[in-house]
C-alpha cells in the first residue's frame, strides 16, 4: 500500500510541477531580462542595504523605543507606533528576501549555461537559499502575530528554553555519572 501511495505522490507531484510550468509566464523568464537586470541592480542593492542595516535593525527590533512609548505615550500612539514598526519590519524583511533572490538569480543566469557546473555546489546553494526563505517566513509569521518587539523576545525565550534544556541534560548526565560512581561494586 505504501508503494501505491508513493506512486500516487509521484504522479501528483508531476501534475503540480506541470501546473507551475503552465502558469509561468515566458516573459517573466525572458532570456535577457534576468542576468543583465541583476548584474546592474545587484551592487547598488547590496550597497544600500549595507549602509542602512545597523541603524535599521536596532530601531526596528530593539526594545528601547517601544519601552519609551509604552511609558510615556497614550494607547493610540502605542498602537500607531507598533503598526508603523511592523510595516518597517516587513519592508526590511522584503529587502532580505530580494537580496537573497538577486544573489541566486545572478548565479542561475550564469550557471545554467556553464559547462563546469557542479551539482553538489548547486544543491548546497539551493538549500542555503531555501533556508533563508524559510527563516524569512518564520520571522514574518512572528512579526504578523506579535510585532517587531516580539521577534527578539521570542528568540530570547527560545534561547532561554534551550539553555534550560541543556542545563537539565547536563544535570541528568552528571546524575548518571554520579550514580555510576556511587554504585557499590559487588
Amino acid at each position: 500500500m505504501s508503494g501505491a501511495l508513493i506512486l500516487l505522490a509521484i504522479a501528483l507531484l508531476l501534475i503540480g510541477l506541470l501546473g507551475l510550468l503552465l502558469r509561468r509566464s515566458d516573459f517573466a523568464s525572458s532570456p535577457d531580462a534576468s542576468p543583465l537586470l541583476c548584474d546592474a541592480t545587484a551592487p547598488s542593492a547590496y550597497q544600500a542595504f549595507e549602509q542602512r542595516r545597523g541603524e535599521l535593525l536596532d530601531r526596528i527590533f530593539g526594545p528601547d523605543d517601544w519601552e519609551f512609548v509604552l511609558n510615556h505615550a497614550p494607547k493610540r500612539v502605542q498602537r500607531l507606533f507598533l503598526q508603523e514598526r511592523k510595516e518597517i519590519a516587513f519592508y526590511w524583511l522584503s529587502q532580505i528576501r530580494s537580496l537573497a533572490k538577486i544573489a541566486i538569480r545572478i548565479h542561475i543566469a550564469h550557471s545554467r549555461k556553464s559547462d563546469e557546473l557542479r551539482p553538489v555546489l548547486e544543491l548546497r546553494l539551493a538549500i542555503d537559499y531555501f533556508m533563508i526563505r524559510v527563516k524569512c517566513a518564520i520571522v514574518a509569521a512572528i512579526l504578523w502575530l506579535g510585532g517587531p518587539v516580539a521577534v527578539r523576545r521570542m528568540i530570547k525565550q527560545v534561547g532561554g528554553l534551550s539553555e534550560e534544556l541543556r542545563g537539565m541534560l547536563e544535570l541528568a548526565s552528571k546524575g548518571d555519572a554520579l550514580s555510576g560512581e556511587t554504585r557499590v561494586p559487588r
Partner: protein
C-alpha cells in the same frame, strides 16, 4: 494512445493465460458490445491524432519534433488496427493490446528524451545537472526496488499492469527532474515545446495514477479505469492540438553575460551574498 484501447474487457486470470503470453495475466471472457461513449472517445482520439499528424505534415514539424510525430503516427496506426481487431477479431485483442502498449512505452521514452533535448539542449549546465539528478534518481529507485524484491517485502511485478505502471513511474520521475530544473533555472520554453511537454507529462502522470489504482484496488476500480484512461488521453490530445495549432518560435538564445566570469567565482559571489542575507536575518533574531 494506449489509453483509449479500452482495457475494460481485460480480466485478471492468473494461470492459463500466463502460459500463453510472456507477461500479461489477462484473458478475455468473451467479446462484448462496445458502449457508445467508448466508441465516441476512441473515434475522437483517432480524429485528434489525424488532425495533429496533418498539422505536422503541412507545417513540416516532422523535422523539428521527429520522435513526437513518429510516436503519434505509431499510435494512430495502432488505434485503427486495434479498432479493427476489437470489432472483428476480439479474441486476439488482449495480447495485441499489451504488446502494443509496451511498444508505445518504448517510443514514449524517445519522446521524453526529445523533450529533454528541446528544453535543455541550449543550456549545457542545466542539462548536465538534469543528467546527474536523473542518474541519481534512477539508481535510488532501482536499488530500492531490487532491495524490496530481494527482501520479499514487495513482489516482482507479476502483471502487465504492474510492469507498465513501474515503467511509467520511472518516466514520471525523469519528467519531474526536467520540470523542476526548468523551473529552478528559469529556462525559457516556447509555446509548442511547452505544449508537448505538459501534454506528455499529464499523460504519464494520469497513467501512473490510473494504473496504480487499478493494480491496488483491482476490479473495483475497473469501471472508473475504463472511462478515465481514454478520457485523459483525449484531453492530452486536445492540449497538444491547441499547443501545436499555431507555430511559435523558440525563445531567443540569451546573450553572453556582460562580464565573462567563470562558474567558480560566480558561485563564490552567490554564496557570499546568501551568507550576507542570512547574517542580517540572524542579527535581527539575536536577542
Amino acid at each position: 494512445m494506449d489509453l483509449k484501447r479500452f482495457p475494460s474487457q481485460l480480466t485478471v486470470k492468473k494461470g492459463k493465460a500466463f502460459e500463453a503470453f510472456l507477461l500479461p495475466c489477462y484473458d478475455f471472457v468473451n467479446s462484448r458490445q462496445m458502449k457508445p461513449y467508448e466508441l465516441f472517445l476512441w473515434l475522437a482520439c483517432v480524429a485528434l491524432e489525424s488532425l495533429l499528424l496533418l498539422r505536422g505534415w503541412v507545417s513540416e514539424w516532422f523535422r523539428k519534433y521527429p520522435f513526437f510525430f513518429v510516436y503519434l503516427a505509431c499510435v494512430f496506426i495502432q488505434d485503427i488496427f486495434f479498432l479493427m481487431i476489437y470489432l472483428f477479431h476480439f479474441k486476439y485483442y488482449a495480447p495485441i493490446y499489451w504488446y502494443g502498449e509496451f511498444f508505445s512505452l518504448v517510443i514514449g521514452c524517445c519522446v521524453a528524451w526529445e523533450i529533454f533535448r528541446l528544453v535543455l539542449g541550449r543550456y549545457p549546465g542545466a542539462g548536465r545537472m538534469a543528467r546527474n539528478m536523473l542518474l541519481f534518481a534512477l539508481i535510488m529507485v532501482l536499488t530500492k526496488s531490487l532491495g524490496d524484491v530481494w527482501n520479499g517485502s514487495v513482489p516482482w511485478p507479476g502483471t502487465a499492469i504492474e510492469l507498465e505502471r513501474n515503467l511509467r513511474a520511472i518516466q514520471a520521475l525523469s519528467l519531474i527532474v526536467l520540470a523542476s530544473l526548468s523551473a529552478y533555472y528559469e529556462i525559457p520554453i516556447g509555446r509548442n515545446v511547452k505544449g508537448i511537454f505538459i501534454g506528455y507529462g499529464l499523460f504519464v502522470a494520469t497513467s501512473v495514477m490510473t494504473l496504480t489504482l487499478r493494480a491496488s484496488l483491482g476490479e473495483t476500480f475497473q469501471a472508473a479505469w475504463v472511462f478515465l484512461q481514454p478520457f485523459c488521453y483525449a484531453a492530452v490530445l486536445s492540449l497538444w492540438s491547441a499547443a501545436l495549432w499555431r507555430y511559435e518560435g523558440d525563445p531567443l538564445l540569451e546573450g553572453q553575460p556582460k562580464i565573462e566570469e567563470d562558474y567558480q567565482s560566480v558561485a563564490r559571489v552567490t554564496r557570499k551574498g546568501l551568507h550576507q542575507a542570512r547574517a542580517f536575518l540572524s542579527k535581527a533574531m539575536r536577542p
